[in-house]
């Protein structure tokens, strides 16, 4: 029996791979990215405080999107990619 695949679709992305330099989590700039839900900032502040025991934190900064219900704009993602070597995201509620 032949059926039509109900999940079939063509990938919208080009599928290209990008060579990424390994992140040095002990020294590299890191973004703490908030999804703008209540308490996300407090959660990320706690992570920054814990990281202070392990590494310098003057290059660990907070970033947030403007709406909890909308995706982050492409410009913001590009800005984070350009300025940081890694990002820790607060997701969900």
């Amino acid at each position: 029996m032949r059926i039509v695949n109900p999940t079939f679709g063509v990938s919208a992305s080009g599928g290209e791979t990008v060579a990424v330099k390994p992140v040095d989590w002990r020294a590299d700039p890191i973004a703490l990215f908030s999804n703008s839900k209540p308490n996300a900032r407090e959660l990320l502040e706690g992570i920054r405080a814990r990281l202070a025991d392990l590494r310098p934190v003057d290059n660990i900064t907070f970033v947030h999107k403007n709406s909890a219900s909308q995706g982050a704009p492409a410009e913001l993602i590009e800005q984070v990619a350009a300025n940081y070597r890694g990002a820790l995201l607060a997701i969900a509620d």
């Binding site: 029996m1 032949r2 059926i3 039509v4 695949n5 109900p6 999940t7 079939f8 679709g9 063509v10 990938s11 919208a12 992305s13 703008s36 209540p38 709406s67 909890a68 219900s69 909308q70 995706g71 969900a92 509620d93």
Partner: protein
């Protein structure tokens, strides 16, 4: 869960209905209820109805894949649609793919929103879409299967798997199917789609990421003023996403409430303005913590009240349902819009 091949056509063993459903569930293709088999022959009948609808589809979130007419038709077949329903399903998909509908956010959220589909225009009668008594409920094939087909597309093509990419805390029965028609015949006002700029002879699907309908019971009021008082106080809820004041909502007036409101001179614009001003929540009904949270996103009370719609135009009013002193309001997810799309050939 079994992996699904990445080809558009799949050869499976000859199966009866029971074995088919087991196979479909093993692949994660279903919503838990029985599914029809999307044989190539069945799918071809659906695709034939939409030949000529060549406008490409945007990628479907969250998987971000571009569907084919065949894979969309497969889901409509599985949902139990008739081929003639397929143009409505495609228009519904185009509506939720409108960028400001925010499909990804509405599928991935913890909020229990589902894609509410409102059908307006002549196709309601051609396809026997229920616009009257029990229009949100069971019993009409078109309502049930058109709504279900869109949900299956979002599940199978979009990849919004419950518990994985669909992160709803509770979800909603509306996630099985959420489609109804406007009761234009018993509405004293201009049909909704005409107010949105379509021709009366057009058939149109309107979508909103909404909660299941909330009932508004008013058996006692015999005046428009009385009914509006009940409506505005029912909508003024501190626990709905509308409290953030950043999204639309739909008010579905039952024909009896609509008749009384119209008799007493209420216009659509007048009701929108009244609800914008008076469907509001006093600060005493909002916790201090939430007040601080809302202030952080620039949503502050005006004269000690939180408004719950951004503008009067974000309040969408129409007539549907049958006899009885009930209306309904449908709060949205919030960060979404209410796009309307003309049904090709409808």
């Amino acid at each position: 869960m079994k992996d699904t091949p990445e080809t558009e056509l799949i050869d499976i063993p000859d199966v009866d209905a029971e074995a088919w459903n087991e196979l479909a569930l093993e692949h994660g293709w279903g919503d838990g209820m029985p599914l029809a088999i999307p044989t190539q022959a069945a799918v071809d009948k659906f695709v034939a109805v939409c030949r000529g609808d060549n406008e490409p589809f945007a990628p479907v979130s969250p998987r971000q894949v571009v569907p084919t007419l065949g894979s969309l038709a497969a889901n409509a077949v599985m949902a139990g649609c008739k081929p003639d329903y397929f143009p409505v399903v495609l228009a519904a998909l185009r509506a939720v793919l409108t960028p400001n509908y925010n499909l990804h956010g509405t599928l991935a959220t913890t909020h229990p929103c589902a894609p509410m589909l409102l059908v307006s225009g002549p196709i309601r009668q051609t396809l026997d879409i229920n616009c009257g008594s029990n229009c949100f409920g069971q019993g009409w094939r078109a309502n049930a299967t058109i709504g279900r087909a869109l949900q299956l597309i979002l599940l199978n093509v979009g990849g919004a798997k419950p518990g994985l990419m669909d992160r709803a805390t509770h979800g909603s029965p509306a996630k099985y199917a959420y489609c109804f028609g406007e009761n234009e015949e018993e509405s004293p006002w201009t049909p909704y789609h005409v107010r949105r700029g379509f021709a009366a002879g057009d058939s149109v699907v309107t979508a909103m990421a909404g909660e299941a309908p909330h009932n508004i019971n008013d058996h006692g009021s015999t005046s428009g003023e009385g009914i509006m008082t009940t409506i505005e106080n029912t909508i003024a809820q501190s626990g709905a996403n509308t409290i953030y004041g950043k999204g639309p909502y739909v008010l579905v007036l039952g024909p009896e409430h609509a008749e009384t409101l119209h008799r007493d001179g209420w216009t659509i614009e007048g009701m929108q303005n009244r609800l914008f001003e008076r469907a509001r929540v006093h600060v005493s009904r909002v916790s201090k913590e939430n007040q601080e949270s809302y202030a952080g996103s620039d949503h502050v009370p005006v004269n000690d009240y939180y408004k719950i719609a951004p503008t009067p135009d974000d309040i969408h009013i129409l007539v549907a349902g049958g006899a009885g002193k009930h209306s309904a309001w449908i709060p949205s997810f919030g960060g979404t819009a209410v796009p309307s799309v003309r049904i090709a050939g409808g």
